[in-house]
Amino acid sequence: MMRKRSGVLVVIVTMAFLVVGQSSASGHGAAIRLAATVVTAGDSLALTGEGLGESADITLVLESASFETVLAAVRGDDHGRFATVVRIPPEAPPGAYRVVATAGDDTATADLVVTRATADEKELSDPGQQTLDGARADALELDRRRLPGEAGLAWGVALLLVVLGLWLSRKRE
């Protein structure tokens, strides 16, 4: 009986942490949402946001390590809410981006991947009739920046496994 009660308690506490985590994820209320997380350069993208000042001018910027452009400037409502559709510039190189919405001191960001237009459905089902222009055999230049400590952690795990293996191989049965 006691075990059952403590089990229920653990579930309740866990749920409470989850709820708190959910609400703190959007900071003090400033947030933007994208209709898609992956978009082709040149295509349109719907955005909504909230908590960005009161009737403030909001600037929407698309940025990466090598490219930055202002997508739009919009006016938020009394609660800092806005909804707009922007066009991703066709010249934006493929890769990972951030969409940054700024209104005074309030800032909200969202991750976005921009990709180059790929073959369409017809090309995919009938590869024999298409142009060969633009095909490249080399590798795409990618931003392989890892999370802080990611590489260090991986090296550490590798070292630990080597040591564990040595211990095991020398251990008597």
């Binding site: 997380t37 992956v38 082709t40 493929p94 890769g95 990972a96 991750d111 991947v113 921009v114 990709t115 180059r116 237009a117 790929t118 073959a119 459905e121 090309e123 995919l124 089902s125 590869p127 024999g128 009739q129 298409q130 142009t131 060969l132 222009d133 633009g134 095909a135 490249r136 055999a137 080399d138 590798a139 795409l140 990618l142 931003d143 392989r144 920046r145 890892r146 999370l147 990611e150 590489a151 991986a154 090296w155 795990v157 590798a158 070292l159 496994l161 080597v162 564990l164 293996g165 040595l166 095991l168 191989s169 251990k171 049965e173």
Partner: protein, 344 residues
């Protein structure tokens, strides 16, 4: 102190009983403690890494012709540990191919495919087939130029096969893209088949025991000791794969341009290009089935119950010849300029 030792001893016994570890204490031949006998275990370790990293990558991958490439960019650039997981997946796949081919060579050299281990051999050949198909389907998934060309070759070979290959063509269904169907094969059908065969393979090895030649000690070691060394090698393999993944990350090509043929396949399939350059798509469609049929026929051709030194020498020569041809074809394919094969 003595009481404490007794208590620890009792706990160890309880744990050993609960985990049925006594079952691992059975005797195995002394020869099985040599390095070549760990090649199968190395393959298994790499398969486990593939399953773990594959499950993680599946959280971010989008199996559609329009979203696949972008989602791989996302995996590399944005997903936490995504780049590392993808690199590990790639290098583990290469490790599987290398270790299983070496394992196959060793089993062939030792003549362990003969009576009564024919079924163990056939199941192993089936697993080799599954692993090659897993490697191939995995190559197509990023939908970059290399992946798209692999898909186009798949289509050409499937069409060459006629009704037998229709399931691997666009004509089979218009409701789901071929890429999505290959993804389904990659993450469900082939792994299920692989693990079912693996279960049978391991059971047969346990039941029939390790093959020994006359004069070799049959009960000189225990499986538990073997497992201990196997785990050590497995840990080193994982460590090595992590290091290789950090130093040489797997590249991603540009989004596919349909109709072009400008890339060469990854190393395990490179030898096929040399054949395809010479004999076209027929060589591509036939070479793998012919090789697998030859492997499957081996226990039926060599039915001698007793082995001899001469037989081992012949097999060593055969294995050497096969590896020489494979390496020569791979080198030729790597060095000659890229050719158009599909008449696009």
């Amino acid at each position: 102190m003595q009481i404490e030792d007794q208590a620890i001893g009792r706990k160890t016994t309880r744990l050993t009983d609960r985990l049925a570890l006594h079952g691992l204490d059975y005797a195995i031949p002394t020869v099985a403690t040599r390095l070549p006998y760990f090649l199968g275990a190395m393959t298994l370790t790499a398969i486990v890494i593939l399953a773990a990293t594959g499950a993680y990558l599946a959280q971010f991958y989008q199996p559609s012709p329009f979203g696949a490439h972008a989602s791989v960019v996302y995996i590399i650039e944005v997903a936490p540990f995504g780049d590392l997981a993808r690199n590990l997946h790639w290098w583990a796949a290469n490790a599987v191919v290398a270790s299983i081919l070496l394992h196959l060579t060793w089993v062939f050299y030792r003549g362990s495919y003969r009576v009564p281990r024919e079924l163990t051999w056939w199941v192993g050949v089936g697993m080799l087939g599954c692993l090659f198909l897993l490697f191939f389907t995995g190559t197509t998934l990023p939908n970059d130029q290399e992946g798209f060309e692999a898909l186009a070759h798949n289509l050409a070979a499937a069409e060459w096969m006629g009704p037998l290959g229709v399931v691997l063509t666009h004509a089979f269904t218009r409701s789901t893209p071929l890429l999505a169907r290959l993804y389904a094969l990659h993450i469900s059908v082939l792994p299920l088949a692989l693990f079912a065969l693996l279960g049978v393979h391991l059971y047969l090895i346990r039941y029939l025991g390790i093959h020994t030649h006359p004069g070799e000690e049959r009960h000189g070691a225990t499986f538990r000791k073997h497992l201990q060394r196997m785990t050590a090698y497995g840990l080193w393999l994982v460590a090595g794969l992590i290091v290789v993944s950090l130093v040489w990350p797997r590249e991603l090509g540009y989004p596919a341009v349909a109709g072009a043929e400008v890339t060469k396949p990854p190393l395990p399939f490179l030898w096929l290009v040399a054949l395809e350059n010479q004999w076209g798509i027929t060589a591509l469609a036939l070479s793998m089935p012919v090789i697998f049929l030859m492997l499957a026929a081996l226990p039926l051709v060599d039915r001698r119950a007793v082995d001899s030194r001469r037989g081992m020498r012949w097999r060593a020569g055969g294995a050497l010849l096969a590896w020489t041809v494979l390496i020569a074809l791979t080198l030729i394919a790597a060095l000659v300029p890229q050719q158009q094969h599909l008449g696009m």
